[in-house]
């Protein structure tokens, strides 16, 4: 029995060696082995989107709607810091009712900065609040947001909990849900039944970004040329200070980001009041987040 096992072992060893030899030895006619490989060698390069690395984008969602008289305020506000080298990003949401100093306008809800001075004042407000330099801003409204989502064929959003909100029209079961523009808008607007109301809504809006990022990444892997289509339609439905060249560079950087390496959070805050107005106060804990993001755009830990 032992001899049989030894013989079997020798046979297997011989076959293994022969197998390895078949794969690695040079053809008989060759004098020296050549480093040919069956492995595909890949290389890629994307230019840095900004002179600074990492770079930051402030995404502003306006409450403008056709045929209505809106506030002209920022309904959603997210500071997105991207570190292309580490292929990661952070989405930091600000509740729209955050009570903050607005340069030249005293203190007020952060969303009023859009009405008071346009996107440039929103940028100045967030820069002053966080100490983080903002490279670009992007501004959209309900209609633009909805059309952009439709334009890319919808997105899959990981709904965190069941929603049934007649005000926004958000009716979703928890789990991944494919949403077209109208559904994504309802999901992003819903603040009834979300934890902390406006705070939970801000976090859910970050989930929409993540869904779009996943879609972009998947499309880009399938065909990098699809990025051009995203940029074309994005440029139609969004107001931005990015040129098409900037958009392309940012898009190339975004397409390489792994959604699993994106942190989505809302500034630490608490509900309070100023006079009779219900507002949100950003707590001191936010300072450490700002400091962390100033370092490399990513949160440690």
């Amino acid at each position: 029995m032992r001899r049989a096992l030894l013989a079997l072992s020798a046979l297997v060893t011989t076959l293994l060696v022969a197998s390895v030899t078949l794969h690695t030895a040079p053809p008989p006619a060759r004098a020296e082995p050549v480093a040919f490989s069956l492995h595909r060698v890949r290389g890629s390069y994307a230019p840095p989107p900004s002179a600074r690395t990492p770079f930051t984008v402030l995404a502003i969602g306006s409450d403008y709607r056709p045929n209505e008289t809106p506030c002209g305020c920022a309904d959603s506000l997210h500071l997105i810091t991207v570190n292309p080298a580490k292929q990661g990003a952070t989405i930091l949401g600000f509740p729209r009712d955050s009570w903050v100093p607005i340069p030249g306008h005293g203190s007020n809800r952060i969303n009023t900065s859009l009405k008071s001075g346009g996107p440039e004042l929103v940028v100045a407000t967030v820069q002053q609040l966080t100490g983080i330099q903002i490279d670009y801003y992007l501004l959209t409204d309900f209609e633009g947001f909805s059309r952009a989502v439709d334009g890319i064929g919808g997105i899959v959003v990981d709904v965190p909990y069941a929603m049934g909100d007649p005000y926004s029209g958000a009716y979703f079961e928890p789990g991944p849900v494919h949403m077209m523009g109208g559904e994504a808008l309802s999901f992003a607007r819903n603040r009834h039944g979300t934890p902390g109301g406006d705070i939970g809504r801000s976090e859910n809006q970050g989930l929409v970004f993540l869904g779009a990022l996943e879609k972009l990444r998947r499309d880009f892997r399938q065909d990098p040329a699809l990025l051009v289509g995203w940029i074309a339609v994005g440029n139609r439905y969004l107001r931005t200070d990015l040129s098409l060249a900037d958009l392309t560079r940012v898009g190339l950087a975004a397409a390489r980001i792994d959604p699993a390496r994106v942190r989505n959070l809302v500034v630490p805050s608490s509900i309070g009041s100023v006079g009779s107005a219900s507002v949100v106060f950003i707590t001191d804990a936010a300072q450490s987040i700002y400091a962390d993001l100033r370092d490399d755009g990513l949160l440690s830990g």
């Binding site: 890629s44 074309a232 339609v233 975004a254």
Partner: protein, 205 residues
């Protein structure tokens, strides 16, 4: 809505020159010394995505010729013309690249060119060389970015008489700079294998 912004959507305006069999606009180039090779990448589908509400294809033919010139020069220098390999240094393969992309490309020779195998090759016999282009047009329908998806395949003839199969694919992002289309970003891969194993599956990465 950054990602959505960056990212926009997809109303495609395909001004297509369908198929992949059209000859490129430049005359075929012959290289190769003892093994003359006539090689010209073939221009396949050319489509556009425009920021403008109304799309015009005026200027697309000229832009296509510009992209073709850059891509053709890359593949001549990187794969087809032995006189330009310089033992695997490929000194002029990236003349159509912007500075940052060219610097990085020098570290990606195995993905963008024949790489170190060039030193052992006598000549390359192309079997497939084609590409498609997608142009991004600005609000005035001027082409500002192009993405060229290239497929190149051929047989490499080693100095000792053996052969290897060569397979390359690349997506090249180009933009017009001073009248020429320059590569500013790329994703590329190259597989070189003994011809006897050419049919085997590559290792997924």
């Amino acid at each position: 809505m950054l990602v959505l912004a960056t990212l926009g959507g997809a109303v495609w305006f395909t001004l297509a020159r369908e198929g992949g069999a059209e000859p490129g606009p430049v005359s075929p180039t012959t290289v190769g010394g003892d093994h003359p090779v006539e090689f010209e990448l073939r221009t396949g589908r050319v489509s556009v995505r425009s920021v403008a509400a109304e799309v015009s294809r005026e200027g697309i033919d000229a832009a296509t010729e510009g992209v073709h010139a850059t891509v053709q020069a890359l593949y001549m220098g990187a794969f087809v013309d032995p006189a330009r390999w310089d033992g695997g240094a490929f000194p002029d393969a990236f003349q159509g690249f912007e500075k940052g992309a060219a610097e990085r490309a020098r570290r990606d020779l195995d993905a963008l060119t024949l790489g170190s195998v060039a030193g052992e090759l006598e000549w390359v016999e192309p079997s497939t060389g084609r590409y498609s282009i997608v142009f991004l047009l600005d609000g005035q329908n001027r082409p500002v970015t192009a993405v060229a998806g290239v497929v190149f395949r051929g047989i490499g003839h080693l100095k000792d008489g053996e052969t290897v199969s060569i397979s390359n694919g690349a997506d090249l992002f180009l933009r017009p700079v001073d009248g020429a289309w320059r590569v500013f970003s790329y994703t590329a891969s190259t597989q070189i294998a003994p011809s006897s194993t050419a049919g085997q599956e590559e290792t997924p990465q």
